[in-house]
């Protein structure tokens, strides 16, 4: 080909590419006004399928443990065939929900408000759900499941992010989060932490107890200086971290092999580790803990609304809610579940219905610029700053 033809070919290709892309760029923000959806007035027959996005351990069909199965009974009862996708962090849940491929999601407090603000979930008519009256009152109409008096879903259960340690390698048994912060050097290279920006709140909870002069009132409302202090603490911790985890199965494997001996976890991780034969114990340290309070929500683009409503009602029914709570290691949301757990002491162990205890846990919420603790004189750091700080901490 002659050089001129070659050049004109290149120009042509570039021009075609530019043409293909000319539909992309605009010079202004995209503004969308919230559309008021008609809230459902009755539950019809199921559409035959339901795709669920949930925390691992919330949607068990017997494949992990044949004795743990509440998906098949649901399918038989409603004829809604379930497909399940687990996620490891709230951020992942928000991203996946935005694709519009999932009908229902179990959203923690740090995800639910973002989902509502992004119009990825729809208002739920709670009067259609038979089991809603049995839910503990202190879980209803909370900031993370209700906006402007409109309910967005069914409370599922709650719990704390715990400290887990290998009983044969960590002595004496830790009682404080200092095991992963100030005293982490004792187990250097074998400490683990949750791989999400929201873990900064765990450092803030620790600082609330050990550095009162920072005046942190709420671990999700940190001004610049308070965030810097938390980041410093986490950077010190970073030198002792062996692995960050977001996949609870991988974390358990590290505990079982001995690559990790101390770190943060969920009770479900401890339960799996115990069945794998690892010698581990968990506790809520003296400083208190961060935690989660989850809500089942319905995607705004769902085509399977009836199945979605049926799932929300089913998962909150006394028997199923007891099964989930016991398997995952959390407090059930349904007050009647406590009589149905296999372990009669389950609700005592997890302080279910103990409003005072529940209020001591700092539930995950999304940090925003308007301080959540009510301070008006400073700007707080928002989640994007937390995300950038988290990358910086990991280095």
């Amino acid at each position: 080909m002659a050089p001129r033809t070659k050049a004109s070919l290149v120009v042509g290709v570039v021009a075609a590419a530019a043409l293909a892309l000319s539909g992309c760029g605009t010079s202004g923000g995209s503004g969308s006004s919230p559309s008021a959806q008609p809230v459902k007035t009755e539950i019809g027959t199921g559409e035959g399928q339901l795709s669920i996005l949930g925390w691992p351990g919330y949607v068990e069909d017997g494949s992990n443990d044949p004795a743990v199965d509440w998906v098949h009974p649901f399918e038989q009862e409603t004829q809604c065939k379930v497909s399940f996708k687990p996620f490891g962090t709230s951020d992942e849940a928000v991203t996946l929900m935005r694709t519009g491929q999932y009908d229902v999601v179990s959203a923690s407090g740090d995800a639910s408000l973002r989902l509502i603000a992004g119009q990825d979930v729809q208002p739920v008519n709670m009067s259609l759900l038979k089991n809603y009256p049995d839910i503990y009152p202190f879980l209803k109409d909370k900031a993370w499941n209700t906006v402007n008096g409109i309910n967005y879903g069914m409370p599922h259960g709650w719990g704390a992010n715990l400290l887990m340690y290998s009983t044969d390698k960590v002595t004496p048994a830790p009682t404080s989060w200092s095991a992963v912060f100030d005293d982490a050097a004792k187990n250097t290279g074998k400490v683990t932490a949750y791989d999400s920006p929201i873990y900064i709140a765990d450092a803030a909870v620790y600082l609330m107890a050990h550095k009162p002069e920072l005046n942190i009132k709420n671990p999700y409302a940190l001004d610049k200086d308070q965030l810097a202090a938390a980041v410093d603490l986490l950077k010190q911790q970073r030198t002792h971290i062996g692995e960050y985890w977001s996949d609870v199965v991988k974390e358990v494997q590290a505990f079982t092999s001995g690559s990790t001996v101390v770190g943060t976890t969920w009770q479900v991780g401890a339960n799996i580790a115990a069945t794998d034969g690892a010698k581990v114990a968990t506790l809520v340290p003296e400083e208190g803990a961060t935690g989660w309070s989850d809500t089942w929500m319905i995607g705004s683009k769902t085509k399977n609304q009836n199945c979605a409503y049926k799932w929300l009602d089913y998962i909150a029914s006394p028997k199923v809610n007891a099964q989930v709570a016991e398997y995952f290691g959390e407090s059930p949301a349904n007050a009647k579940s406590c009589e149905l757990t296999k372990d009669p002491k389950h609700c005592e162990t997890y302080h279910s219905g103990d409003t005072a205890y529940a209020e001591k846990i700092w539930y995950w919420t999304t940090p925003v610029a308007d301080c959540l603790d009510g301070r008006k004189d400073v700007k707080c750091t928002d989640y994007s700053q937390w995300t950038k700080s988290w990358t910086e901490i990991k280095g």
Partner: protein
Amino acid sequence: MAIQTQHLPPGSPRGSGGVPRAKANTFSALLHRRPRLRLAALLTAPAGWLVLVYIAALAALLITAFWTVDTFTGEVSTVWTTENIVTVLTDPVYQRITLRTLWIAVAVTVIDMILALPIAFFIAKVAGARWEKLLVVAVLMPLWASYLVKAYAWRNVLAEGGLLEWLGAPIGLSSPGYGETAVILTLSYIWLPYMILPIYAGFDRVPDSLLEASGDLGAKPLTTMRLVMLPLLVPSIIAGTIFTFSLSLGDYITAQIVGGATQMLGTVVYANVGAANNLPFAAAVSLVPIAIIMFYLFIVRRSGALNSL
């Protein structure tokens, strides 16, 4: 060229006595007369594919890097800004991560080169014809196993009380644990076949008579290696490095499985796409490895290595 037409005398039966001819095909005649049209018909499909799938995707990435995202709702706002690019280039964290990723990619490439040269030489020049085939198959074998399976296998090998520790215990070595070293080891293992194959093909192309001639003229084996073999092999080695270097530069899966807390460019992109949901920033970060690879390809283009890929 003009198409000849037959003038038949009236009344004579058609086709009798004349030279039998194929029926005139107007379409092929048209293409024959117009070379530009012919070229267009041949090139439109592949060029369209290239533009749509490859160039448009890269351009979309480039454009996305200049947008921002509303962190609370996660909506991408299409306001032009250079903030993402500036952050990636100036923030010390990302500079460190870029350098670390480069170091890992270079280390993997060098390790694979050192391992692949003797192996490829043995297969091409020392082993007999039957062994040669068997050994090539043996080199290709690991490629039949899934990437994930291999990475998780290394996770177990490197674990506390794993194979590496058990092997190293008698000589007082312990497993490096999960981290940068583990990533380099695992990636070197996974990409090794991609380095062996081009170098083996290169050795295979060096005629034996050339080596004999070098020996006849008084060169010692190492001198022959240095002055005859290596210059001929350079393009093949560079072809192998393109594979190992670019694949390591973009890796994010191995880093997550055996990297412990190690961050690479790939994991930062992954975290920003999956977790932080900041696509524009992820696009800005992903331009870094693209730029590095393009620069590398530009340098090696002159060596003729791209012809032996």
